[in-house]
């Protein structure tokens, strides 16, 4: 199911470059192809081949993820460290090994990749085995995660392709608005609806209007409007 290393075409193959998960994946491929191990790794040929691959990809107009280029510049730096005479060898008392960081990175990545293959080799629910279907009785709701909620937001966004966020950022707080209006009417007999809102935002105005309706329903204010589209006043009762 997963592409085995051996099945990948060699990177010299001109018409179609093999695809790699990322720069570390490519590096591991090159190391394995050269039959190096991380213990006896000769970094320079691997770096050369890596740069060659990136060069090829660019000449073929293959769009490479930025990470590949980032790694390329890192490797060029690394190679220059290796090739330059180590004038300050023994610096800090440690034997200076610029390739070590790269090795550690590769070991960590390789371990994770092995772990992921290991995971994938387990009998997988919904692939190798299937759970018992749903039971008939309906009960309480299972506890849910914030992730699931945000997933839902994303689903809405993907479907409507509108800015759900815009609307959400403008959420209005009716209760807060009611309190604001009540506070204003403590000192005054009447206030115009437009004077209740603090911003020009439509949603806030809608919120104020809903709040006004609510207060009217509670017999706290009376809404007065002299004509269509004219100012709406909230009168204290």
């Amino acid at each position: 199911m997963l592409p085995a290393e051996a099945e990948r075409p060699a990177p010299e193959f001109i018409l179609r470059l093999p695809e790699f998960e990322g720069p570390l994946d490519l590096l591991l491929y090159l190391i394995e192809k050269n039959r190096f191990t991380l213990e006896n790794l000769e970094v320079c040929p691997v770096i050369d081949q890596y740069l060659h691959y990136v060069e090829q990809a660019r000449s073929l107009d293959v769009s490479l993820a930025g990470e590949f280029l980032e790694m390329a510049s890192y490797l060029i730096w690394l190679k220059s460290c290796l090739l330059l005479p180590s004038a300050e060898s023994g610096e800090g008392g440690e034997d200076f090994n610029p390739a070590r960081e790269l090795k550690e990175m590769l070991i960590a990545y390789r371990a994770i990749r092995q772990a992921s293959l290991d995971l994938s080799a387990r009998p997988l629910l919904m692939r190798d085995k299937f759970p018992r279907g749903s039971s008939q009785q309906e009960r309480d709701v299972a506890s849910l995660s914030i992730g699931a909620l945000l997933q839902a937001v994303n689903a809405i966004r993907a479907r409507t392709r509108k800015y759900v966020m815009d609307v959400i950022a403008n959420r209005f707080d009716i209760q807060g608005m009611i309190e604001r209006i009540e506070a204003i009417l403590l000192n005054r007999r009447r206030v115009a609806l437009n004077d209740v809102v603090k911003t020009e935002e439509r949603m806030e105005l809608v919120g104020a209007f809903v709040a006004a309706l609510e207060l009217s329903k509670r017999c706290i204010v009376r809404l007065v409007q002299r004509g269509l589209f004219s100012t709406i006043y909230l009168m204290r009762r």
């Binding site: 009960r139 309480d140 709701v141 299972a142 997933q151 937001v153 409507t160 966020m165």
Partner: protein, 176 residues
């Protein structure tokens, strides 16, 4: 592997009642009579070995049920229901935007939310503020189910862009 056991596995793993035609599609060569015979055989085996379940023929197909005498024990069991994606969407809108009228929910989602609202009300995850229009808001049960102390604990959606930002040319994202 016997066809009978394939039929068993099919009904076993199905969500709800499995229509006969789906079984026939999955085991080519078998007819409706065969299916019925297999189910009878399976049920006899279950009964003879003292199993707590059997297969029931419903109008729409076949489904597993636990035997009635076990019902008292199952009632004690907390078998939580999983919310549908549609209900989760409605819930998300109300959580972030509520209290809000149904019309606002429908317009944000681009679809009608009637049945989801009903289901959420039934599970007491949302409630209604009286008024015209009715306003929906999330309840304390909602906070409980999501393990939140208050609505203000909901993550800022902008922060979530790191996960849900649309990739150029690949809006659907990876179907991993």
């Amino acid at each position: 592997m016997h066809t009978r056991e394939i039929v068993e596995a099919l009904i076993f793993s199905a969500q709800g009642s499995l229509p006969e035609k789906d079984i026939l599609k999955a085991v080519p060569g078998a007819g409706p009579d065969d299916i019925e015979r297999y189910v009878t055989e399976l049920n006899r085996m279950y009964e003879e070995s003292g199993r707590s379940f059997r297969i029931e023929r419903a109008s729409s197909g076949y489904q597993y049920v636990t035997r009635e005498e076990y019902a008292p024990y199952l009632k004690a069991l907390h078998t939580p229901v999983r919310l549908s994606m549609a209900s989760l969407e409605v819930l998300a809108v109300i959580a972030y935007k509520g209290p809000c009228p149904k019309q606002a929910i429908d317009s944000i989602r681009g679809v009608d939310s009637t049945s989801s609202l009903k289901s959420l009300l039934k599970h007491q995850l949302i409630d209604i503020k009286n008024g015209k229009p009715l306003l929906y808001y999330t309840t304390s049960r909602f906070l409980e189910v999501f393990g939140l102390d208050s609505l203000s604990e909901l993550p800022d959606l902008r922060q979530f862009e790191e996960v849900f930002r649309e990739e150029a040319g690949n809006p659907a994202g990876e179907e991993g």
